[in-house]
């Protein structure tokens, strides 16, 4: 791994995540109030939305963004099918749980993306501003594929409730906040953003530190409480982000994204949702076991992406882009 990847492990952002993992493992009672954690996650989403929007207001919109959005939506729809196949065969899950887990791997993790963006900047390959819109676009299509896979053709449940569930999924908090603040960034532009940049820009990395501290605590505690995880599922929770991530970097490079954005697209494909999708699964597939899908996405894939995979995908994107590692 290159210098930049090594730098990862001296970045306070990643170190606080490790501190969280460690504190949970030694069973310290360190905990961040949930209201604070929720507040930080809203702040992070508003901030990256704004910054993405401001970047696009500077660079303007072009065909690439349309291609990237289409690629993102397609990936979110299709990746669950790969995941489902692996989960049913090698993972030995039943249809219900395989479908629920698959939905998580098609969707994305906002904090993984945010952390990756910080690391890309250390590596001097920043991602394009519009990738925030791609992030928002990839959150929900996977939920539909997952439900399709889990329920097969069966159409039980009354249509009114299904309609409402879909509305809730598509207007869930993070999609609305990401797209909303992206739009605000575009309208406000650099001059409007200047007023609020001490809050949304200067404070960003510090908040990310404390948020990742909390995520480390939660991820490790859930892992230690978990009862339903087999070694097969652990393997899948590491193999999927490697495979999906590489696929994403390849696709991103193929559709003409710059190195940073291709790496970002890889990270989006590699990451697994642990907010929007679990909440949707509670409603739509209540018999699926959160002990499986949350533990895989939150306690295995998330740390693996933060600590290892972001670095690998950056290197791959650089290699494909003909940059020195």
């Amino acid at each position: 791994m290159d210098i930049a990847a090594l730098q990862t492990f001296t970045s306070p952002v990643v170190l606080f995540f490790l501190l969280g993992l460690l504190a949970a493992v030694v069973r310290s009672d360190l905990a961040i109030p949930e209201a604070i954690a929720k507040g930080m996650s809203l702040y992070l989403m508003a901030a990256i939305g704004l910054k993405g929007g401001v970047a696009v207001s500077k660079s303007g919109l072009d065909a690439t963004i349309i291609t990237a959005l289409a690629a993102g939506i397609a990936a979110s729809f299709l990746l669950p099918f790969i995941a489902y196949a692996v989960l049913k065969t090698f993972g030995k899950l039943d249809r219900l749980n395989a479908g629920a887990v698959a939905a998580h791997y098609g969707s994305v993790s906002v904090v993984t993306y945010v952390t990756a963006v910080e690391i890309f900047e250390l590596s001097a390959v920043p991602a394009a501003g519009f990738m925030v819109a791609v992030l928002a676009a990839m959150e929900t299509p996977a939920i539909l594929s997952g439900l399709l896979l889990a329920k097969g053709g069966s159409k039980n449940g009354d249509p009114e409730e299904r309609g409402e569930m879909l509305r809730e999924v598509f207007l869930n908090a993070s999609v609305v906040l990401l797209l909303g603040s992206f739009a605000i960034g575009m309208v406000a532009g650099p001059s409007g953003f200047a007023e609020v940049s001490p809050f949304f820009e200067a404070g960003f990395k510090g908040v990310l530190c404390l948020f990742l501290l909390d995520m480390g605590l939660i991820a490790a505690r859930r892992m230690m409480d978990s009862r339903a995880i087999t070694w097969r599922l652990v393997v899948i929770a590491i193999a999927l982000p490697l495979f999906n991530g590489a696929l994403g970097v390849l696709a991103g490079t193929a559709i003409g994204l710059d190195v940073g954005s291709a790496a970002a697209f890889g990270v989006l494909c590699a990451s697994a949702s642990y907010i929007a999708v679990p909440a949707a699964m509670r409603l739509a597939l209540p018999q699926a076991d959160p002990g499986i899908y949350l533990t895989m996405s939150l306690s295995i894939t998330f740390p693996f992406n933060i600590l290892v995979n972001i670095g690998l995908l950056t290197a791959l994107a650089k290699a494909l882009g003909g940059m020195p590692l």
């Binding site: 905990a31 949930e34 954690a37 505690r221 009862r227 339903a228 509670r282 209540p286």
Partner: protein, 102 residues
């Protein structure tokens, strides 16, 4: 001695995303109201949970006071999701002051 009437107190523990479905059922059987209390953590067949607000899936306790008759209407209304969605419903008799409203 102040007058009281006897009513059913029903408490339902549900995943927060489901709370709306429960309160809609309460409104549908025309119970006069409901109140939601926050829940911090818990443990059941799936092992312990906590800090779930960050993953959008914590639990809430929905409490409602109703006549015996409406209470059974409500539990019947909830039958389809009671076991599929892992709701925990308990119910007992309480004395209520100003009970004519319920």
């Amino acid at each position: 001695m102040i007058e009281t009437v006897v009513r059913k107190r029903i408490e339902i523990l549900a995943d927060t995303p489901l709370a709306k479905r429960v309160t809609r059922a309460i409104d549908k059987v025309e119970i006069s109201g409901w109140t939601i209390l926050p829940v911090q953590s818990g443990s059941g067949r799936d092992g312990p949970w906590r800090d779930e607000r960050v993953t959008g899936s914590d639990k809430s306790l929905i409490l409602t006071i109703a006549s015996e008759e409406k209470a059974s209407l409500l539990s019947e209304e909830l039958v389809p999701i009671l076991s599929s969605h892992g709701l925990l419903l308990t119910m007992w008799d309480v004395e209520v002051v100003r009970g004519e409203r319920f």
